[in-house]
Amino acid sequence: MQPQRYWREIPQRYRLEAGRCKRCGKVFMPVRGICDSCRSTEFEPVRLADRGKVHTYTAIRVPPAGFVAQTPYVLAVVELEDGVRLTMQVADCGPDEVRVGLPVRVEFRKINEVGKSGVICYGYKAVPA
């Protein structure tokens, strides 16, 4: 991954910065240009909750390039306390320990590294709360 592609997502990945539609209040992660509920184009920044629960999950046993060292890893759709759902790994949690409804909190983790010499990519993961 080239650094610019990683860099432009930093507010979302480091601080869970999302966008809330100024008209209808719907929250988008990441922020987008048009609200799909009310067609408004005005958004205000909002920080997502850092706690939630597992809505659904899997355990990845056959990883894409760059994720081998972490395999197997638990991947989940997490429903945060503000109702926003996001796909993230559940770290410090074995495939046999995860379940629908598991309370989690969000931690700052390393997501991937671009080889031995590339940029280190950070972001959010859930951990059992």
Binding site: R5, E9, M29, P30, H55, T56, Y57, T58, A59, I60, R61, V62, P63, P64, A65, F67, V68, Q70, Y73, L75, A76, V77, R85, L86, T87, M88, Q89, P95, V100, I111, N112, C121, G123, K125
Partner: protein, 385 residues
């Protein structure tokens, strides 16, 4: 709008075609399709391919295909909608013929998937998901469908055995299809003891990596008997829809809204309903997908797809046979070719040429092709002309 007929269908050999480069893939399928017609020249070419770039380093595929078919000069374009690329290419060709823009159109679906390693293939397929908010975090397609399966099991009590039933059924069907990639009867035990790929999905819950192509020749129904050599099959209905790119953006992870919408549009256009369908080819990229798709198509109520397959209703000889070709599971899944190959199966069945797997006197066939986790879907309904 003119009514449109399919007068020629063909499939290349499907499998791990080590000798065959991307550029040659289309040829075998197209020659077979043209051989079923009296046509030797087409007016338009529509190619469906997900990512020739990532799988084989080749884009600009419409021109590549036209050139290697000896049709350089003919207008050609390429449609991309991930694994629904083939279905979307068919729609583009259909629209041209229906609108009178051309009188003979060729549809080619193709994918060359074995020129990359396993993790590169996982990456390439992953580009059909939300790259920055799913794949960045380690999502894979088996993983995304695994999460759909977990939720479906959680909400509706869908069972491991019901997932297995899809694989067992489709491999049984594939055994009867000489063109299928895998000719192997598989048992419940084999499915349930195969390697975990993304819980709860195991290797035999997943469609394979396949090289292959499929082709269709389309013309107005009015000229079908003149240009075709075989019994006419016409397009009754077509529906196409999209949904959010990321699975997590959906209100309900157990529903495939794009499939529901595409089906509703296709049923309406064709003037038929789920009960009128003689057979269906659906996008069983993973076993859970077939269960969810049969619900979205109205073959079962929401949450009842597992019970539907367990009841045998979708097996050969059942109320509504699903994936008589063997489906993506057994026939293979060269992603861009799949949507076209589904229509090849429908035409073959509607003509009564399906041999050992022939459904008894089918009148109406439905094909459902899907991109990503259901971010796009196209439903086509064909009938005996």
């Amino acid at each position: 709008m003119r009514e449109v007929a399919v007068i020629g269908v063909g499939m290349s050999k499907w499998g791990e075609l080590w000798h065959q480069p991307l550029r040659d893939l289309a040829c075998e399928a197209v020659l077979k399709a043209l051989a079923q017609t009296k046509v030797d020249k087409v007016e338009s070419i529509h190619v469906g391919c997900m990512t020739g770039g990532l799988f084989a380093g080749q884009e600009h595929l419409a021109s590549v295909v036209a050139d290697y078919l000896g049709f350089a000069g003919v207008p050609a374009s390429r449609s991309e909608s991930a694994c629904a690329s083939g279905g979307v290419a068919f729609k583009a060709a259909y629209a041209e013929v229906a609108a009178g823009i051309c009188d003979v159109a060729l549809v080619v679906g193709m994918e060359k998937m074995t020129d990359v390693g396993g993790d590169e293939a996982t990456y390439a397929l992953g580009t059909a998901a939300d790259q920055e908010y799913e794949c960045y975090n380690g999502a894979t397609f088996p993983g995304l469908y695994g999460m759909m399966a977990v939720r479906h099991m959680h909400e509706f009590g869908t069972t491991r055995r019901q997932l297995s039933q899809v694989a067992v059924k489709n491999h049984a069907n594939g055994l009867l299809n000489p063109e299928a990639q895998y000719h192997a009867k598989i048992t419940f035990d084999e499915v349930e003891s195969s390697a975990l790929v993304a819980d709860p999905l195991r290797l035999l819950d997943c469609s394979p990596i396949t090289d292959g192509a499929a082709a269709l020749v389309l013309c107005p129904l009015s000229t079908a008997s003149k240009l075709g050599k075989k019994a006419g099959v016409k397009v009754l209905g077509l529906g196409h829809a999209t949904d959010t790119i990321a699975l997590h953006s959906r209100k309900d992870l157990c529903r495939l809204a794009a499939v529901e919408t595409a089906a509703a549009r296709a049923y309406k256009m064709a003037g038929v309903g789920p009960k009128d369908i003689s057979l269906a080819e659906v996008h069983d990229c993973f076993t859970i997908a077939e269960i969810m798709v049969t619900e979205a198509l109205g073959f079962a109520e929401l949450g009842e797809g597992g019970k539907l397959v367990a009841s045998g209703a979708t097996a050969m000889g059942g109320r509504i046979p699903v994936n008589t070709s063997g489906g993506l599971k057994s026939k293979g899944h060269p992603v861009g070719a799949t949507g076209v190959a589904q229509l090849v199966e429908l035409v073959t069945q509607l003509r009564g040429e399906a041999g050992a797997r022939q459904v008894k006197k089918p009148r109406v066939g439905l094909a459902q092709n899907m991109g990503g986790t259901g971010g796009s879907s196209i439903v086509s309904i064909l009938g005996v002309a």
